[in-house]
């Protein structure tokens, strides 16, 4: 089947987002954990093309922020020196996927100035860098949870649909129970049971695997539906008549039908689970300091003074929305492809 242009476009968009996040170390100008204690809650750096004398410049530049004497967390630009924006600058060291180390960053400015594309948080950490690195955690969480859900959903749904009878009955009853479970309480219990010597990142991934395990019920039902209808098709019956074993039937005839469902489900579940992480952090159950994740980046908005005064703390929401749009676009495209295929 020739993938439609829509699918290709959606996949490219998604891929570029993921690449930017994967190469966060390169794209981000700062280290996400470095606290600039003199610059808490700094607004995004303004990029200028016109200098103080009114001249237009080809290369954009920035001024450094300085704290104002009056008021807390108030800043103004210091017109003392201009710092031109440069590409491929040296900066803090980083590793890509833990393998490839470098210290070249996509863009930046000369020391001692720093560029804060999306402002800073309470500790003076660059929000833009944190959003990129946070994306690594949040996306990994979403993908891992989705994989878990789909794994269980596929196995149980297949078994239920293919073998039928009491396996089917019990699997579906179990699914109903899971659909109705008290999520929050389970998470509270599991979170507090975890041993302390796990790093925060590991703790969180484990937690996310739990969400994934609870979420198998809906994919399982869908898979079961597909398997049921595939099982009764004429060519499957014929194949069985020829003496094909169960596993052969499953592999060759039934499973391929589930791929479409699985892909669509994956595209729908990933953003859902990423949003689940955001919600977890909202209740304070999410990833701990100093690891950034979109959830705990947004959690600071619960505080009134942040909500009202520091609008740039909303920017992680943009990243979240972009990812959701990307995945939903892919899901839509797959869905349409599936429909056109089955007709």
């Amino acid at each position: 089947m020739m993938p439609r242009p829509k699918i290709v476009a959606a996949l490219i968009f998604l891929l570029s987002l993921h690449l930017a996040i994967l190469f966060a170390g390169f794209v981000a100008p700062q280290d996400p954990a470095v606290q600039n204690r003199d610059f808490p809650f700094v607004p995004p750096t303004r990029v200028h093309f016109v200098d103080a004398g009114g001249h237009m410049r080809l290369r954009p530049f920035i001024y450094q922020w300085v704290a104002r004497a009056d008021g807390v967390y108030e800043y103004q630009e210091s017109r003392e020196r201009e710092y031109p924006l440069r590409l491929f600058v040296p900066g803090p060291r980083y590793r890509i996927a833990g393998l490839f180390a470098s210290h070249t960053h996509l863009f930046g400015v000369d020391a001692p100035a720093q560029i804060f594309v999306a402002g800073t948080d309470n500790y003076g950490r660059d929000q833009f860098s944190r959003i990129l690195f946070g994306g690594q955690i949040s996306l990994a969480a979403g993908l891992l949870a989705t994989a878990t859900s789909l794994f269980f959903g596929l196995s149980i749904g297949c078994a239920a649909g293919f073998y039928g009878k009491w396996i089917d009955e019990s699997a579906m009853r179990l699914a109903e129970l899971f659909l109705v479970l008290p999520w929050l309480y389970v998470l509270l219990a599991v979170r507090s049971c975890l041993p302390l010597h796990l790093s925060p990142a590991q703790t969180f991934l484990l937690l996310v695997a739990v969400i994934g395990t609870i979420g198998w019920a809906r994919p399982a039902r869908l898979v079961r539906g597909v398997v049921l209808s595939a099982k009764n098709r004429k060519y499957v019956l014929a194949s069985r008549g020829y003496g094909a074993s169960d596993s052969h039937l499953l592999r060759r005839h039934v499973l391929p039908h589930t791929y479409g469902i699985l892909l669509t489900q994956a595209a729908v579940l990933v953003p859902q689970y990423v949003i689940a992480e955001v919600t977890l952090s909202f209740f304070g159950l999410g990833l701990g300091e100093p690891m950034p994740s979109w959830g705990n980046l947004l959690a600071s908005l619960q505080q009134y003074h942040v909500l009202v005064s520091y609008w740039w703390m909303f920017t992680p929401a943009i990243a979240l929305i972009l990812v959701t749009i990307g995945y939903l676009g892919v899901a839509n495209a797959f869905h349409q492809q599936l429909q056109s295929d089955s007709i």
């Binding site: 929050l184 309480y185 219990a189 507090s192 949003i275 749009i325 939903l328 676009g329």
Partner: protein, 320 residues
């Protein structure tokens, strides 16, 4: 009749299963209700231990479960450690507040989704359809949390609507119309968020199933007979498209008690959500079990209703 019986028994078994799971998990989670007192230097450890045994918290799990079942059957549904009162009275008031919110939001969402969905299905492929689909995509992409925070920010800045709660302080002194207006003002944002969250999915499903039906031969035949467009859509196509929508309606009913937790907590709406959150954080276990059971009940009610309605509305199901 046998079908109904089976479903009822099944529902009861499900409720029992959930209650057992709830108890199990509450045991897993460390800490108990009276732990906070330990941090107070003016309360001795003996008093804390005495309080624990006074409320039977040091009994083994099966004993506690048994006592809870007895209390449930009696109508109390357990005893709240924090409020020193039966869980039932707590739950009823909060559930009423939540239902007010969610029922209104669900009703509104459906009232919008059906006519709009039917209409854009009839214009499939044209600019109205594309625009609406794009709109729903946008809505789907913005998580409920962000929408709520955004609206909260707007309200705090402009003071156009109240920023939380269910009624104003001076509610009792208002006349009937004043009370209605006050309640509506407080409902506006939470209901708005829930409608915005639920509408896209509903709209898409209505559209999808209508599009299916509109393609089918009998619709072509009806069009050939020259039946008017309005009648065609609502009298012929919609009932045929109703099957998957009924299940969706069941899901809507199922989520009536549990779907609004986030909105209630952020906007301070005094519903089941904040009660459940506070109780689960402070380990007021019987309140948690009661609240979870209540939302499970609605889940079961929802799917049951959906099944019954399907049988009534769709003759094809009866034949099968």
């Amino acid at each position: 009749m046998k079908y109904l019986e089976r479903r009822v028994i099944h529902a009861v078994l499900l409720l029992v299963g959930v209650s057992v799971l709830c108890f199990l998990f509450s045991d897993l989670a460390p800490g108990s209700f009276f732990d906070e007192m330990k941090l107070n230097p003016q309360i001795s450890a003996e008093t804390v231990a005495a309080l624990r045994s006074q409320y039977g918290l040091d009994q083994p799990l099966p004993v506690r479960y048994g006592r809870w079942v007895k209390s449930a059957v009696r109508g109390d549904w357990g005893y709240s450690l924090a409020y020193h009162s039966p869980v039932r009275s707590l739950l009823l008031v909060r559930a009423r507040n939540t239902l007010l919110l969610t029922a209104l939001a669900t009703l509104l969402a459906w009232l919008i989704a059906i006519p709009v969905g039917v209409w854009i299905a009839s214009r499939s492929g044209k600019w109205e359809d594309r625009l609406t689909l794009a709109g729903t995509s946008v809505l789907l992409s913005v998580p409920e949390l962000v929408v709520t925070l955004g609206l909260l920010y707007w309200v705090v800045r402009t003071h156009v609507l109240p920023a939380g709660g269910m009624i104003s302080v001076g509610f009792d002194e208002l006349g009937l119309w004043g009370k209605f207006r006050d309640l509506a003002a407080h409902l506006a944002i939470p209901v708005g968020v829930l409608v915005l969250a639920g509408l896209p999915v509903l709209l898409r499903h209505v559209r999808a199933s209508m599009v299916e039906v509109l393609k089918s031969p009998f619709m072509q035949a009806a069009r050939g007979h020259g039946i008017g467009r309005f009648r065609l859509l609502f009298r012929y196509a919609l009932p045929a498209a109703a099957n998957p929508l009924i299940s969706l309606l069941g899901l809507s009913v199922a989520g009536l008690l549990s779907g609004s937790l986030l909105v209630e907590v952020i906007m301070g709406w005094p519903g089941l959500g904040p009660l459940l959150l506070e109780a689960s954080v402070s380990r007021d276990i019987y309140v948690v079990v009661g609240a979870v059971m209540a939302s499970t009940f609605f889940m079961i009610l929802g799917s049951f209703l959906a099944d019954v309605m399907l049988v009534v509305i769709d003759p094809r199901v009866r034949v099968e």
